[in-house]
Amino acid sequence: MGRSAFMGGVHPPGHKERTAASAVERAPVPERLVVPLSQHLGAPCAPLVGKGDRVERGQMIGDVDAMVSAPVHSPVSGVVTEVGVTLTAGGQRVAAVTIEPDAPQDLGSFVPVEDNGDARARVRAAGIVGMGGATFPSVVKLSPPKGMAIDTVILNGCECEPFLTCDHRLMLEEPERVVAGARHIRDIVGASRVIIGLEDNKPDAAAALRKVAGSDIEVTELPTMYPQGAEKQLIYALLKKEVPHGKLPAATGALVHNVATAAAIADALEHGRPLMERIVTVTGAVARPGNYRVLLGTLVSDLIEHAGGFVGDVERVIAGGPMTGQALGTLDVPIAKGSSGVVALEKGVAARAISDDQPCIRCGRCPEVCPMGLEPYILATYSGRRMWDAATARNVIDCIECGACSYVCPTKRPLLQLIRVGKSAAMSKGAK
């Protein structure tokens, strides 16, 4: 099974060769941007602008006074044509501000966020969230609960999802930003150690980081295996510490941030730059796969068009990676802070639609690959029979939803889908 830095795991084909060598290229400014007011986990923002208002690039257009939230900024200078709703990649309807950019745009300038000397406040004001896809507001992570000392900052550059190369290109092309972000995070939380962890399928990125890292930052290459980039698995691989059941990762003294998040934090603290754009890998069955610097609010349909459109028989379009991303029902959804990729999957590559409930043949593959040591076949059966207590007793809540079980299942049972149901039932029961 090869080397392994954590228990379980799978080796899905990487498909990264299509874009790994493509330098980041700026996607054009679209004719209209639909900027969602909820691009993070937590309370959605209220609009700060109205229809007909003129906005500047970098101007805050949405905010909310809540602990877990992040403000939203306009990625362009232009006119608000609508304050309405949009569908997100995740399928939710959220408030959104539609902006028509003035031509021409000066993307080098922006309205900087206010600097009152408080780094945490500045990270919040810049609207920074976890850009690996979780979109958890970064300021919350940077403010660990009292009594939970952080000694190690880990930057996650694993990018273990197949197809995606946006973090790879960022580390390779702009290692200084990543390393600067790592140092800022370290200083904010008062940690003593910084490790940048990435999979060993990106040796060029590791070399680029090492060149600028200095002796205070460790760059560690880990075996290429999914889900190496999952927070708990990464902490275990680097520190050999398990995040205790039911506790925050900070309980191990480690704090994990994605490399793109770290770069955004550096931008915010050094230049007052709010989060207005990100690198997105557009790949799979498209004519010009590549890594694009995309203004937030750009519609996926515009991005696909810029990438030359679909080729072949595209069966699913995924926002994010194919293991954890969301299948899109429409391409009229905007790129948001957590959008790492747009992947067009052809027939034969895409998982086939689930039809009948297939029997478990007890082959033993799912417990073998589960990185959490769970027994997915049992959890799925309990969930299917609505046996929530039994599922809870078998630690259904510990599922990290990586999908390794569904990936390996030879009878293609919808294991993760069933487990998610059991998990949410168990969690809502626990909350009552």
């Binding site: 679909f310 991303g325 391409l331 030879p410």
Partner: protein, 333 residues
Amino acid sequence: MSDPRVQQHIVGPSPHITSKATCSGIMLWVVAALAPAAIWAIVNMGLVAVQLLVVTIGVAIGTEAAWNAIARRPQTILDGSALVTGLLLALALPPRTPWWMAAVGAFIAIALGKMVFGGLGHNLFNPALVGRAFVALSWAGVLAGVENRGWFRTLADVSAEGYDTISGATRLAVAAADRAASGGYGFDLAAQYEPLLLKNLEGSLGEISAALLILGGAVLIIKGIIDWRIPAGYIGTMGIVSWAFGSDPVFHVLAGGVLLGAFFMATDYVSSPMSKKGRLIYGIGCGLFNALGRFVGPMPESTTFAILFMNGLAPLIDRMTRPRVFGVVKNDE
């Protein structure tokens, strides 16, 4: 600006890609791994072997198809598991088994071994072994080689091969009888290695060449289809216990149904444990009961019942060998 083609895109839950492994693909690998032994049987036995294979495979698939049709369940014969059951049953029966006995065995294997439990994935016991056990218990003489000279191609053929010193029973049976009578053996066990490995014309259809069974088992292990822990535990224990009883471990591993059982029967997913540790325990249990059956019990050929017994213990073994959940320390709950 919605792309009209998007309407055809499938929206489903993640993960959006899956491994290439399929149930029928796995079953076909098992068939491929058994093919050399089956073909070698046909080469050596001729039409009797073909007849046995056709009857058991045909009846196994036919029984499953008919059951599904009568029960108005979706048809499942294409998953390949009935084919594997039929093939395994043929290979576990003496070549001269009367066709109707083989047919009854195949029917019982699928109907009582599998479909009554709810079909593939739900059976507690290995269906092929259920079928074989039924035949063995119903017509004991046939499998013991007393009637119909079930073990042999023909007596004349066997004589021509130079094995005329053994008549009416397998080497295993002779060895057991010798041991019971005198505590020793009337023939040199080590001299049997070569015929057992290459061309043993006694025993069941699938036992003609131990070397081909080992080859097929190795392919399944390398392909990741079966877990090495089951055959390793089984064969290792069989050898050690044989040695402990003062007998030749190599002879006892090569003779009889041990290899067919260890690589192809005990490794049946549905009726064996799920965890790695559980599989090792289960393999050791199979080897232990198989050896005890030979040295202590009444039957020199005890593979079938050793595995069926361990099938029954598999759920218990699973319960005892649950994986440790990440982040959960003992006494944590």
